[in-house]
Structures are given as C-alpha cells and as structure tokens.
Symmetry: C2
Subunit: 329 residues, 2 copies
Amino acid sequence: MLTERQNKILKLIVEKYIKNPIPVGSKVISKAINCSSATVRNEMGELEKQGLLEKTHTSSGRVPSEAGYRYYVDNLMELKKMNGEDMLKLQMVFRNQQLALSDVITKSLQVISDMMNYTTVVLGSKSHENLLKKVEVIPIDDENLTVIIVTDKGHVEHKTIKLKDVSLEEVEKTVSLINNLISGTPIDEVGKKLEFEIKPIIGNYVKQHEQLYNVFYHVFTDFTNQEINVMGRNKMLEQPEFSTNIEKIKNVFNKLDEREILSNIEEDDDNNIKVYIGNENNIDSDVTVIQTKFKKGNEEGTIAIIGPKRMEYDRVVGLLDYMKKNIER
Amino acid sequence: MLTERQNKILKLIVEKYIKNPIPVGSKVISKAINCSSATVRNEMGELEKQGLLEKTHTSSGRVPSEAGYRYYVDNLMELKKMNGEDMLKLQMVFRNQQLALSDVITKSLQVISDMMNYTTVVLGSKSHENLLKKVEVIPIDDENLTVIIVTDKGHVEHKTIKLKDVSLEEVEKTVSLINNLISGTPIDEVGKKLEFEIKPIIGNYVKQHEQLYNVFYHVFTDFTNQEINVMGRNKMLEQPEFSTNIEKIKNVFNKLDEREILSNIEEDDDNNIKVYIGNENNIDSDVTVIQTKFKKGNEEGTIAIIGPKRMEYDRVVGLLDYMKKNIER
DNA sequence: TTTTAGCACTTTTACTTGACAAGTGCCAAA
DNA sequence: TTTGGCACTTGTCAAGTAAAAGTGCTAAAA
C-alpha cells in the first residue's frame, strides 16, 4: 500500500513521462509537491523497490514500469472529460443520419486515429455469430461466376470462380437449394451442411456435382471469420518509441496484419473498457491496447485503440467511453 | 556516347551496388576488367562528369546516379532468365484451374513480393471501364438495407444504408428500374443517369423519393473508382535504404495508402514493361516502380513492383514479363 | 521520526584526438 | 593511352575528456 505522497509522486511521474518521454528526475517533482528533492528521491527509491518505477541507468531519472502504468490506470488516473473540439469532430460523424452503424463506427475511429495519432481497430462479430442470409450468383462471362454471400449482420463477401461444363441452370438450382435449406446457419457450419444436405441432392441431377460442390465449399470456408478494420496503421510511425526502432515497427506492423492476433483482442467477456498494457496484450510488449465491446440491436463488435505504453490513458478511456455510449443509444 | 569500356565499368558498378549497397571503388573494378585501378579511376571520373555516377564524399567510391540507373536499364541490362525455383513457385499458382484470373494475379504477386522482398500492386480497370451489371438489395432489419453493386468485370462493392419511412416494395421497385434502365452504363456515369432517368420516374410513386434517390446516388458515387491491391507493404522495411530512415518510410507508406498516387501508376498507354526510377515516379525519389499492363478477355489492369532504386532490375523485369505472358494466354 | 542539505559517485552525451583504411586525383614515366 | 605512385581527403573506430543530470547516502536540522 502506498502513502498519499507516494501516489502523488507516481502520478506526477507517469503523467510527465506521458507528455514527454524522457526520464523524470527528483528536482522537477520536488517543485511540484512541496518538499525537497532528497525526500522525493527517498520516495522514488521506495516506489522502485515496489516495482512501479524503473531507471534507464544507475544515475538516470525514473520511468514508469509496466506495473507502474498498471497501478496508475487502476488507482490514480482521473477520467478526463472530453474537450469540446474532440467532441465536435465526433458529433459530425454521429449526427449523419444516413450512415449505417458500422460506417459510423469506422468513420469515427478514423477521426480518433487522426486526432490522437494512435492506431484504431474495429472488429465485427465472429463468423459463428453470423448467420447465412443469402447467396447470390451472378454470371460474368461464359466461364466466370461471381458468388456473393450476405450474412444477417450485413457482412458481405464475394469471390469470382471458374466453372467448366456446368450449366447456369444447374448453378442456379444449387444456389436456390442453399438458400432454401441452409440459410440461417452460422457461417462456420455451412461447410458441414453443404456436405450432408446439399451434396447428396445435387449428386442426382448435376453432372459435375463434385466440382460444383467443391467450389461452394471453398467459397464458404474462405469466408473470413471476422471483419477486421485497421485504421491509421501509419500513426505508429509517429511515436518516438517506435520511430527509432525498426525492429519494433516491423513486429507491430506484422502483427497488425495477422488476423489471428488482432482477433485475440476480443477475448474478454464483459462489457467494460479494458486496458492491456505491454505484455498484457499479444501485439507487442511496448504497446498498450485499450478496447471495449459494443452492442446495439443485432450488431456487436469491439473497438480498440493501440498506442505506445506511454499512452494518454485518461483521454483514450474517456473517448472510448463516449464512443460506446453514443453507439449504444 | 560511352566507350565499350565505360559501358562495362558502369554495368559492373551498378550490379555490384545492387548486390551490396556500399560505394564501389576502382580497385574491385580493375580486377574485373583487365586494367589498372588508375585507368578505372579516369573512366569513373568521366562517367561522373556525364552524370551517371556519384560520390558520397570526396574520397568515396562511386554510386550510380538516377541517370546511371536509367542508362543501365536502357542500354546495359541483360534480361535474366527466371530461375527454376521462382518459376516453380509461380507455376503452383498458375496451375490452379479453379482460381479466377484476378485471384491468380493477386496470389502470384503475393508470391513475388515474398521472394523478392519488394512491395507489389495490382490495379484493376478504372471505373469508367466498369459497366454496371446488377444492383441487388437485401434487407437486414427493419431499418437497414445492404446494397450490392456488381460490374461486368466482376468487381463487387456493397454498402449498408439506413432508410426511414420507405417501404421495401418501393425500394425493390426502384432497384428493378435501375437494373432495367441503366445497367450497362459505366459506373462513373450512373450518378447522372440516376438523376435524369430514375429520379423523375420514382418521384411519381415513392413518397420519400428524395431520400431514396440520395441514398442510391451516394452509393454509386462512393464506388471506388479502381480496385487497388497492395501486397507486402511491410517488405519496404527490409530494404536498408529505408530501414535507417523513418521519414522515407513514412512518406512511402503514406503514398501507398493514397489511392490517387497509386492509380497514377497506370498513366502509360502502351503495353510494354515500364521502369520508373526515382523522380520518374510519383511515390518517392528513392523508389523504383516497374510495371506493365495486362489484358485478357474483358479483364485488364496493371501490375507493379515497387522497390528501392537499387532494385534487381533484370530479375524483376524478367518476372513481370513471365507474369504478363502467363496471364495473357 | 521525518526532512533536508550536501557531497561523492555514476552514467550519458557531446567533443576532440589520433590512427588507420579506403579511396580519389593527378603527375610523370612507361 | 595506360599505369605506378604519391599526396590528399574523408569516414570510422577507439580512447579520452569535460560537462550535465541525476542518484544514494550520510549527517545535521526540524
């Protein structure tokens, strides 16, 4: 348990360091609270013993450790009211009545990325929560065929395929079978249903039924299991902790491209705003992910903001809170 | 006009520098051709006077200038036969009979990006070359509606929109009007046709015709005017000329995200393989873009490979040539 | 008991210095 | 026309120095 003064000092150090990423010395702190630098040094030593602060070298000022950030977020941070300008920018997006919810979210996270210089992510609902709504087939020329799949959440995917020696009627018959028999099925179970419910039937009247079955099977299994939208990826380059370290950047950029890692973001089950600092997330030990789930009607998903550990926690949490409330009403 | 020997020296320098990005001295060259380093130095001085070589400092070896690369590409480069391994990897993609052409191209450029460590780009045909094939509307819930647009090239886009106080029948009637009256129109002219051919008609029997018209108008004008696919963006970080220079990276990454810049790639009108070195392209003075158009049936587009000026020109040109030929037959 | 002044100590950073390597330009001889 | 040779330039690396920033600790003050 920390004393009042220790809390005060830790808070000051974290906030100073967030503003300006250079180690914080005892002198600046001693000016801010009313006591000598020696006293501050003693307290800093104690905070370091507790694992909340670190030194970059024996005689440097202090930097918050991962545990320090954690403690700050859990105990010291005060939620910041959004400033008028930020709110105005977001209201411009929210006010637009014509936009569907998913567009509103995407656009406003784009705005947030620009105003904070952090990367933002929107994750849609997972494939097992998306039910097949409709399959549509549109012939492009005598060889190619575009297959369009729509889910009940309005997620659309399409793929153009080549079919040989299969008549259009055969294809259309198959599609109408699919629409009649297995729409309403979760996307990731469609493959199974195709095999057991559609394949036996079309076997009877489609010459190239094996081929036709294979094609549809692939279209459905290639269906991405979650819509993922990353915005402001390049903002990562603006952060001093990364802009001097190509290896970090490579890692972060590669992770942002890996769908599996990103979809891990959504693991948590409750509805609050979550902060994953450094090693607490799967992306990189030097980033923090702040995220929250949202749910409105039958649409749900997760929005996340990714930045350096030295993130403006209070501002970001405030923003996400505002976003969430605006989405859900 | 250069002498035989000058050509030889320039070629050697360019190729050595491409292999290993350190300035090339007279000694190594003198060993490769049969004469003394002093002679080589004289020739190098001459090549520098002609603007084909540069020094990084007064006593450094030489580095090819932009004009040097250009001269190399135009006069000295010998086309390289593809090696068996590269060919094998690509054949694996080409052999897959089930893939539609656009997937074959995308997949093989992904392979090329991985084997060369360069960024690759595929551009589809422009919107004025894409004719509206079909509009499809799928109701998601009582407020939202997914609109799907398919072009004759198999390019698909979709958008979910909110409609208030418009009945489903009204929407469907409008859509069938669009499909009957203006399918076959180039995408970028659909807006106009909507206004003059559809709006007057629906005005008669749709209550909220203004709203309905606006929604469709926006869907069509938001249609991206060209499909652009960038692969291996992160490969840029592997190039030593960029990995030490964050500002360069920022610029290149931002350019790769700007559709306008990329679509400039397609400006040229003939069918050959084009090389745009440094300032000859719009992306960055330190990159080279090698590109070619392809055309098969009614599908056409451009494929491009983007790397440092110090690019393996012969290998890349060979690859693109191979790609082009394989696509077109 | 807590706070503080003060001092010795450590480390980083920015410069300088010197030695060496790599490479050039140019002159004079082959 | 080519080449050997030499003076000269620049970059790099290691070592050294001085100043700046900050710490820990001790002993005195509150």
